[in-house]
């Protein structure tokens, strides 16, 4: 287990380095340079700015400096927002995205497991048909439509009630988070439901369930102890990639609901060509995702002893 953990961590570090390098190469092949979008500058000011951001050095030296500062955890200074560190931007906006993402993953996992188990228990009966229809809808409808519909629904509910039950946009209280998180987790919930259904169906027909029934165990105990516990395993494996899609897929929800998350900030930085912010955010997100995937892998090994043996 320790060896496996160390190996995964080492792989993760190499992957993050690759992401940082790919980002560096991508950003340095952008036509023009970061300062060309500025207002007309005199050569002296330009030289000063280049000196400030280290743009006058040879590309390899820039690369070494860039990796070096990343190792120190320093993502540099924003190009468009004077005197604002990329670190500060991340520190300020990432918790918002993370809160939203964690809530969405929680919704998706709980809802998916619950609905998936229900569909398997009521196979080919009404609850199954209804839920599977909703699942197909959840997989086929793009997130921005859900976001728009969610907001429309909130507006109508608030109008109908005559007071504001849940805020329509913005950030700050739990009320602000519920609907955006639900919308964000929707497609993952549909996906988890499908996965849970097939894994549950497989387990319901397995020998040890028949044994448990033959022993006379109560149905509730079979369900919680034997069926649910084993059926959940494949769900855990998709949670890592799910966290990835949910955190990076947050842009749309953040945009529609006016949530001050890192995703919205990233889109803004791209539109303004704020190079350090783009690079810092990408690498930060990449590192975050790699960490999450590794954590989920290790968690899986901890839940399912069979993985450890391999």
């Amino acid at each position: 287990m320790w060896q496996y953990t160390l190996k995964r961590i080492f792989q993760g570090i190499i992957t993050i380095w690759f992401i940082a390098t790919a980002t560096f190469v991508a950003m340095h092949s952008v036509p023009g340079d970061p300062l060309s979008s500025e207002r007309a500058t005199t050569p002296a000011i330009r030289a000063n700015l280049e000196e400030r951001y280290g743009l006058n050095k040879p590309i390899l030296e820039q690369y070494v400096l860039y990796i070096g500062s990343f190792l120190k955890g320093d993502f540099g200074i924003s190009f468009t927002q004077r005197n604002r560190q990329v670190n500060d931007i991340i520190r300020e906006h990432f918790p918002v995205s993370a809160t939203l993402g964690i809530l969405a993953v929680t919704f998706a996992a709980l809802g998916g497991v619950l609905f998936g188990a229900l569909t398997a228990l009521y196979r080919n009966r009404l609850p199954d048909t209804i839920i599977m229809f909703l699942v197909i809808l959840g997989i086929s409808v793009p997130s921005f439509v859900f976001a728009a519909l969610g907001q429309l629904l909130l507006v109508n509910i608030n109008n109908l009630l005559g007071f504001s039950l849940l805020p329509v946009a913005g950030w700050g209280t739990v009320g602000h988070m519920l609907i955006p998180a639900l919308v964000l987790g929707m497609s993952t919930m549909a996906y988890v439901t499908r996965l849970m259904r097939s894994s549950m169906l497989e387990i319901i027909h397995s020998d040890y369930i028949r044994t448990a029934k033959a022993k006379g165990l109560p149905a509730a105990r079979i369900f919680t102890r034997h069926e649910l516990r084993n059926a959940i395993l494949p769900v855990v494996t998709v949670l890592g990639p799910a966290i990835a899609t949910i955190t990076t897929g947050g842009f749309v929800v953040e945009l529609v609901f006016a949530i001050p998350g890192l995703g919205r900030f990233f889109v803004q930085a791209v539109q303004q060509l704020d190079y350090t912010v783009i690079m810092g955010t990408t690498v930060f997100y990449g590192a975050f995702l790699v960490t999450m995937v590794i954590l989920v892998d290790l968690l899986y090994g901890w839940i399912d002893p069979r993985v450890r043996v391999q």
């Binding site: 990076t248 990233f266 889109v267 791209v270």
Partner: protein, 463 residues
């Protein structure tokens, strides 16, 4: 089962079987793998329906513009944000004449302080008012919604600093519908007072003979006189916020969305097949290195890098942004197929028929082309079908956040983006492209499920 059980047994059932000549022959015509898969797919009604939907969407994109010959970029300024089935009638009036501020012959009766000087129309609303006691001036407001107790007056359109009665001609962006005008008395410093009068005006849509002729709304030889009704251009699915025909835009958007959605997966699946089969077949150290690289590419945060690539390629003026998006998709999405195909090739390499073929003297390229690649085609086809909705989603997502195709080009994603702004008042502008995206994704997903069952492919992941 039950048929056999319930059958009445006859004595001849117990007679010894005759030795037939062709007892070992094939009873049914033999079917190839693909024929068999097609047969199974045809029995799957959901998959078959999806196949028809996909064909229908392709026809919509390719043949649609030939049948519905409306320029998707043409703006119909008389019909902006019109929902499908909205009233298209317009009454013919004389060309616009300047107004002298006096009540005209066909003006409605003035009942209150605020009244109309002429029959209101989308050409102009002419407002007259009598003096309000104690007013030093007036401010006129216009609102699209009724003015209730605490309601706002709406858009201030004019200030008149004169104590007597006055008049104003409103020609500001008038659309057919109901307008609520409010006249507020001003004090001598131009400040608002509590004294106000309101007026509700129904504005009908009008058009001049010249405009009708210019837009060829009626045959050239038809006589037109003021008061006649003509019908404006027909838009089956309504118009968007710039007055463009939604159906025509959906068709040209379908070309963009389906082109990216189908061609990009074709390219990256092809790249994945070449890469994966090379790695799987060569094996050894090179295979390790190649698959490590694929792992790295998988680890890149996908949407962030899609956006990053859009920046890297940069859009010049007049470029649609379709090609950069395809290149980015291909660069980032090939590893999933490569992994899958490599796994398949490794598996097939162990099969007995490969050893047999080798024993018979088959060369390597023959093995690869004749046995390995055809045997992975089932998996590849299923991957491809599931890759299409993915690519369509990505395109829609990027266009939605404004990082996809550049504005004059329509795509379902960019149309949704434009429709979001007017979602509350004109939901059709968002709903139609959203329905098309959902329908396409749904059809390809169900088709993929059907193909997977028909080809009996065991897929470990549904990437």
């Amino acid at each position: 089962m039950s048929n056999v059980m319930n059958r009445e047994l006859q004595p001849q059932d117990f007679a010894p079987a005759l030795a037939l000549e062709d007892a070992h022959g094939l009873m049914r015509p033999s079917r190839s793998y693909w024929q068999d898969a097609w047969w199974r797919l045809r029995r799957n009604r959901r998959a078959l329906l999806s196949l028809w939907i996909v064909l229908g969407l392709l026809a919509f994109a390719l043949l649609g513009p030939a049948l519905w010959r409306v320029d998707p970029a043409r703006q119909d300024i008389d019909q902006i944000s019109q929902a499908p089935g909205a009233d298209r009638s317009a009454i013919i009036v004389a060309p616009y004449q300047p107004w002298n501020g006096l009540a005209m012959a066909d003006a409605p009766m003035q009942t209150g302080v605020l009244g109309l000087g002429d029959a209101p129309s989308s050409q102009a609303v002419r407002v007259l008012w009598d003096a309000l006691p104690g007013a030093s001036g007036y401010r006129l407001y216009r609102n699209n919604y009724p003015i209730d107790e605490e309601g706002a007056f709406g858009l201030p359109i004019v200030d008149v600093m004169a104590s007597g009665g006055g008049h104003y001609e409103d020609r500001l962006n008038l659309r057919p519908g109901t307008y609520y005008y409010t006249l507020v008395a001003l004090d001598e410093f131009g400040g608002l007072t509590q004294r106000f009068e309101t007026l509700t005006v129904e504005v009908p849509r009008v058009i001049t003979v010249e405009e009708v002729r210019q837009r060829a709304l009626v045959p050239d030889n038809q006589e037109l006189a003021p008061g006649d009704t003509v019908y404006l251009a027909f838009h089956p699915l309504g118009t968007d916020y710039l007055g463009r025909d939604v159906l025509a835009r959906l068709m040209s958007g379908a070309r963009v969305s389906l082109f990216i959605g189908i061609v990009a997966p074709l390219l990256y699946v092809l790249l994945g097949v070449v890469y994966g089969s090379a790695a799987g077949f060569v094996g050894g150290r090179l295979d390790q290195v190649m698959m490590r690289f694929a792992d790295f590419v998988v680890a890149l945060p996908f949407l962030l890098f899609m956006i990053l690539f859009q920046v890297v390629f940069g859009l010049g003026p007049g470029q649609s942004g379709i090609i950069p998006m395809m290149v980015a998709l291909v660069l980032l999405q090939w590893p999933a197929t490569a992994r899958l195909v490599r796994g398949q090739i490794l598996q097939i390499r162990q099969e007995a028929y490969i050893s047999a073929s080798r024993l018979l003297g088959a060369r390597t390229w023959y093995l690869v082309l004749r046995h390995m690649i055809p045997n992975t085609l089932g998996v590849v086809l299923v991957t491809l079908t599931f890759a299409v909705p993915n690519a369509i989603f990505t395109e829609a997502f990027l266009s939605f956040i404004g990082m996809g195709v550049a504005p004059p080009t329509a795509s379902w994603g960019s149309m949704s983006n434009e429709g979001l702004a007017t979602m509350l008042t004109h939901p059709h502008e968002l709903m139609f492209p959203a329905i098309f995206i959902s329908l396409t994704v749904l059809a390809f997903n169900l088709l993929g499920d059907g193909l997977r069952d028909a080809l009996d492919v065991r897929m470990r992941s549904l990437e």
